[in-house]
């Protein structure tokens, strides 16, 4: 690691945060889709969905909505990285005596900041819609921790198409399946209502354990093993995605 790694990453982070403040629409668009879904599910479908608990449906679905927010937000990381590659500024940075991986880290940290802002916006709207939680400070911190880990894991996935895509559509198309994944999980309806194979998939995919862990933290019920499964998924995805992203990156710069 170069001795300038932290300094260079900070400078480049400042640069891409400036990009965000100059086009805040990226944060707003990120937040609008999940908010629209939340409105639809609560006010249109919500009455017909039985979750097996008597608290309001917004309480039930918020964890899934938060994951969808992150899944749609990280597409912008792929987009920004792709634009840097295409515009040649990436090559300029690579030809300078700058710590080389700083360019990637700056984008990853920017994604974290942007997604956290979107998550706060979505949560505030949920509060307006009647979301209530008895969670204490430590439970909220645990939720934040899981979401940060989830964002980092998904962001490193986003780095891969950002570096290797040939077109802008290609750079962001990868996020559609990620946005779709919560629908095949316990995010909106209990998995017990699903037919066999779907239920098997839903119960064994990462989103379900993450959603269940966050939901338990919000309602103050015991988190059980879900939180450990959730953390294992997040860390596992993070490590694998990071390794692949770094491999793609090394190929790109050699």
């Amino acid at each position: 690691m170069s001795k300038h790694f932290f300094g260079d990453t900070t400078v480049l982070l400042g640069r891409s945060l400036r990009h965000i403040t100059r086009s805040p629409d990226t944060i707003i668009t990120t937040a609008i889709m999940p908010i629209a879904m939340m409105l639809m599910f609560v006010y249109v479908f919500g009455g017909a969905i039985r979750t097996g608990s008597d608290s309001s449906y917004v309480n039930y679905m918020l964890p899934g909505i938060l994951l969808i927010t992150v899944a749609s937000g990280i597409a912008y990381t792929a987009y920004r990285l792709f634009m840097d590659m295409k515009g040649g500024i990436f090559e300029r940075f690579q030809s300078m005596p700058t710590a080389r991986s700083s360019v990637l880290w700056a984008h990853v940290l920017t994604s974290l900041v942007a997604n956290l802002i979107s998550l706060v916006v979505v949560t505030l709207v949920a509060l307006l819609m009647g979301f209530r939680s008895g969670a204490g400070v430590s439970a909220w911190l645990a939720v934040a921790g899981i979401l940060i880990l989830f964002t980092l894991a998904l962001t490193w996935i986003a780095v891969i198409p950002g570096l290797s895509a040939k077109t802008m559509e290609g750079a962001s198309a990868f996020s559609y399946p990620l946005i779709f994944l919560p629908f095949l999980s316990s995010a909106f309806v209990p998995t017990a209502t699903m037919p066999g194979p779907v239920r098997f998939f839903a119960e064994n995919q990462p989103v379900t354990s993450i959603v269940n862990a966050i939901r338990a933290l919000f309602t103050g019920t015991p988190v059980g093993t879900d939180i450990w499964i959730a953390l294992a998924w997040c860390v596992g995805i993070l490590v694998v995605a990071y390794a692949f992203a770094m491999r793609t990156y090394r190929r790109k710069i050699s």
Binding site: S2, H4, G7, D8, V11, L12, R15, R18, H19, R22, S23, G87, G88, I89, E91, R92, F93, Q94, S95, M96, P97, T98, I253, S254
Partner: protein, 254 residues
Amino acid sequence: MTTQQAPAIQVHGLEKSYKELHVLRGVDFEVARGSIFALLGSNGAGKTTAVKILSTLLKADAGTARVNGFDVATQAANVRESISLTGQFAAVDEILSGRENLVLVARLRHLKNPGKIADDLLERFSLTDAGGRKAATYSGGMRRRLDIAMSLIGDPPIIFLDEPTTGLDPQARIEVWQAVRELADQGTTVLLTTQYLDEAEQLADRIAILHEGRIIVNGTLAELKQLLPPAKVEYVEKQPTLEDVFLTLVGTKA
């Protein structure tokens, strides 16, 4: 240091293929310190490929290249300390202002007083008035000037300019030429690629022609001229060139 006496750039037997396409097939040349060296070649000759290898953005398949005495393959970090690259397509951050672009590069080069460096360069490249504007609003020529200004930050001893005047109007072209001459007068070594013969004629101390993967000729302008039969004496009326007319009409001092 021994590197002071060695040529600024030494290239021996450089080869590079993209899959089946054998772009460089054994390129040899040297560039003396403080000189301007022009690499001429038609579209697809491999000029950009050669420049990318010399600026550590691409690895050669075979052969060696030393820049400022450092091997591009094994001492890439030292090479990056010694060079600056102005790529074929202007690599500026469109969302930042001109001044912010300059400050960014100065920071990434770990220099003191980035603000002052930026202001001095804006002045030198007649961009002071536009300095606060987003680079996205710049004309092609302004963008190219900003791009070159970014490359001068930190006074690297060797500068690569890949087709620095392609797409510029005659006036902007002359301004770029002026900047290149000033650099060379201060002792900077300049390697530029171009498709314009007059550009090489105007600027270069030595000219090399890259054709079908090899340097087919390499010499001073006078030496290259001697390759052809001696000039015949003919009497023709001296018509102003279109360039003379254009420059007179738009009335610039440059």
